[in-house]
Symmetry: C6
Subunit: 78 residues, 6 copies
């Protein structure tokens, strides 16, 4: 398997929704890192994302799916 | 990590479904802001969204996913 | 925030699955209205949706996601 | 609202998984009918679906989402 | 309705996760069969899937959604 | 059915979130293997994924969906 850490603290539990959302973004980026380990190429692709409307929306979708899991794990920080 | 606040009040709890839906839209916009921090470029991309049928549908999808999480957090405001 | 009402009765609860599905469609349309407030442009885009196979499928997907939330809110009208 | 019935029996409950899946397909078709009420045009679009690989996959996705809701409603016919 | 069986054993329950995943794949294929009943055309489309990166990913997505439902039905084989 | 193993240990249970995420990636790859069993062709397609922004995002989405199921199976490793 890959040597890249996929879940930064090896836990889905966070103190707050804000931190949960940051974790969702990090996990989204780490999956991309596994598929494209070359830092320079990822940087080029990031420039593509940031200027393409449909990709920005698609990134929002994948972060939303990850966040749903993290929120459930944390009982929605109720 | 990014300095942008990702969850406005750092809570998924809202008084009403209407406010829950507003929160879903805000969170969708904040994820886009993290990926494209330049306000002027975001404005250009917003013009693209607003006139493209498939993008309007895609935005609806990502807001729906976020809203599902918020609604569960609020026990569906039952 | 936008002055557009996002959840018509400010509730996810409906008497029947049929009404739940109507609510899902309304909420899908209201999100599109927030992103594209111009009625005339939305009408043009509706003509695009209605004649494009992949968009019809995509609309079905976003309504399905909204309906999942509404159905859970209503304990599936069991 | 539309006069088209969106949930055939106004219930998500079915006797078996097979019937649940049939209901998911019917509901997917009814949403398309709401967006494109013209029978002849829908028939043309169906011909498009049936010969396009990505659309067949996309239809599978939307039926899967609807079926997830119906299955939960029926306690998975356990 | 279609004469094609949509849920092979008319049950979402399987002995193991492996069998659950096989069921998810079968159900995904059966939905495609309903939309495109012609075996020869489906074979042509399968050749398209197998050589197109985005379609392989999309198939993975729809199987994942079906598997989520089957896994819940089986209490995750815990 | 296919002779390819779809769930490596025939279990969704893992000791940690990190291992859960690795399992999600493996399961995503195994579904692709079922659809395209030829190793050489898969390698060619992997090169396509790794250099295409929208595909990287789409892979993230399908892994996120699988991980959601695995996380629920493991009670979110709480």
């Amino acid at each position: 398997m890959d040597a890249i850490t996929l879940v930064p603290t090896n836990s889905l539990l966070t103190a707050t929704p804000e931190e949960g959302r940051q974790l969702a973004i990090k996990m989204a980026r780490l999956i991309i890192k596994v598929t494209q380990p070359d830092e320079q190429k990822r940087q080029q692709l990031r420039d593509v994302y940031a200027h393409d409307a449909i990709m920005l929306i698609a990134i929002g979708q994948t972060v939303a799916t990850k966040f749903a899991t993290i929120a459930a794990a944390n009982h929605y920080w109720r």
